[in-house]
Subunit: 253 residues, 2 copies
């Protein structure tokens, strides 16, 4: 079995198809062409190559869907994209459209190891009591014209206060256990308990929803089912009844 090596271009096609099929049932060549900023004839060629590699289900004039394998590869690409974009926006305070376009270029160059480090870094910044989101706000300030020292002093004073309060309360940080179905979109939760069993359990396990991992609830569908969550850059859909079986610590924003 040859190790799959996809060109940047084919990775892009796969990514675009992924974004279409999570919304529609199947992708149409015309939409792919439009999103890729490319003529329709180029799409045909790309589809043939992807089909050869068993990443899309495709035959001429037929519907376009992702195979199981294609789905996995696409999610990997999307994950790289999202992690980079997230880092640019949340940590470097780059504006969204630039973050997106640069992430789109860089996603092809970056290794899994580096992406993992990026995610861990973002987690670390958000969780470490020395850093955290208020510290990152200091970075915005640092990027301005004025000297940053005032802000840092104010910021550290507050850190000390929080730290002492937490020491007294005996609690680690401000942790409160919640079930995943209780949280609202946008919240982040660090998983502590997972009562899922059987196939579902293993499936989510594989996708990174493990004890200790941090997930973000992205979006709740109109009728509250399914719920989309983000784990280490991967997007997963879960049913409400499954969410009920997962507990974690709600992280402050």
């Amino acid at each position: 079995m040859s190790e799959m090596v996809l060109s940047k271009s084919l990775e892009d096609y796969l990514e675009v198809i992924y974004h279409i099929v999570v919304v529609e049932q199947a992708a149409k060549a015309k939409d792919i062409a439009q999103k890729m900023q490319v003529k329709a004839s180029s799409v045909t060629g790309a589809l043939r190559q992807l089909a050869e590699r068993d990443l899309v289900n495709y035959s001429p004039y037929d519907q376009i869907t992702l195979t199981r394998k294609g789905m996995e590869v696409a999610q990997d690409v999307v994950r790289r994209h999202e992690v980079l974009k997230d880092f640019f926006i949340k940590v470097l305070s780059i504006d969204e459209s630039e973050a997106d376009s640069v992430a789109c270029q860089m996603e092809h160059a970056v290794t899994t190891e580096i992406i993992d480090r990026f995610t861990k870094f973002i987690e670390f910044v958000e969780r470490c009591p020395r850093a955290g989101n208020s510290w990152i706000k200091g970075f915005d300030y640092y990027c301005g014209e004025k000297p940053q020292t005032d802000y840092c002093h104010k910021c550290i004073t507050q850190t000390i206060e929080n730290f002492e309060t937490n020491l007294k309360s005996g609690d680690e940080m401000n942790e409160s256990t919640v079930r995943l179905n209780q949280v609202k979109p946008g919240s982040r939760v660090k998983i502590t308990t997972n009562k899922l069993s059987g196939v579902t359990a293993r499936r989510f396990q594989e996708m990174g929803l493990t004890i200790g991992s941090i997930v973000k609830v992205e979006r709740v569908a109109p009728l509250g089912d399914p719920v989309e969550i983000n784990v280490k850059g991967y997007s997963l859909s879960l049913r409400k009844e499954d969410l009920d079986k997962i507990e974690g610590i709600l992280l402050e924003d």
Copy 2:
């Protein structure tokens, strides 16, 4: 005047040539080929394109040097490379060879704005009393298997101590003014005074050696002259007599 748009490939050639000409007088096609992992005939083609764009001085069988413009573009590429690599190594704790190879891919995708943010972020991490190098060490710890909370608690306790000591001493941080010719390779200095004048002053000004910027002394040539320093990712060479006219605050490592 058309806005120069260089392909990734040509940027790579330029970068390789740069690295050769800062060591030798002129580049030889063979060395370029070897560094680029490419056959010599490909180099000839690339050189012609670069010469057309007025980035290298080249005619068949002749010596290869960079033009003024080529030097500027090359330094820009090298800077992008170094900043990314630096970030991967210092902040994400990626090992050098991987950092280098990924930086080499990504350097073509990244905008100036993002590179500036990366440099500022590294500066910020190193200077902000809430973060700093000891905090970044916590990130290594966080990447391990064990929970990171202990380390963070120890780390913040120390931060509080340092902070209170600094408050008492009335000093901002541990700042001590030095002249740039006094520092040893590896040190970082935040510029406070610049007594250079005339052409030299303007030249360095343009290259980012301004009041408030942080420079790192990279390397001192055998006879102590010139000294190579790094400003926001750019490498500059200064004569010792010029260094004498620049003062700054020595930053702790």
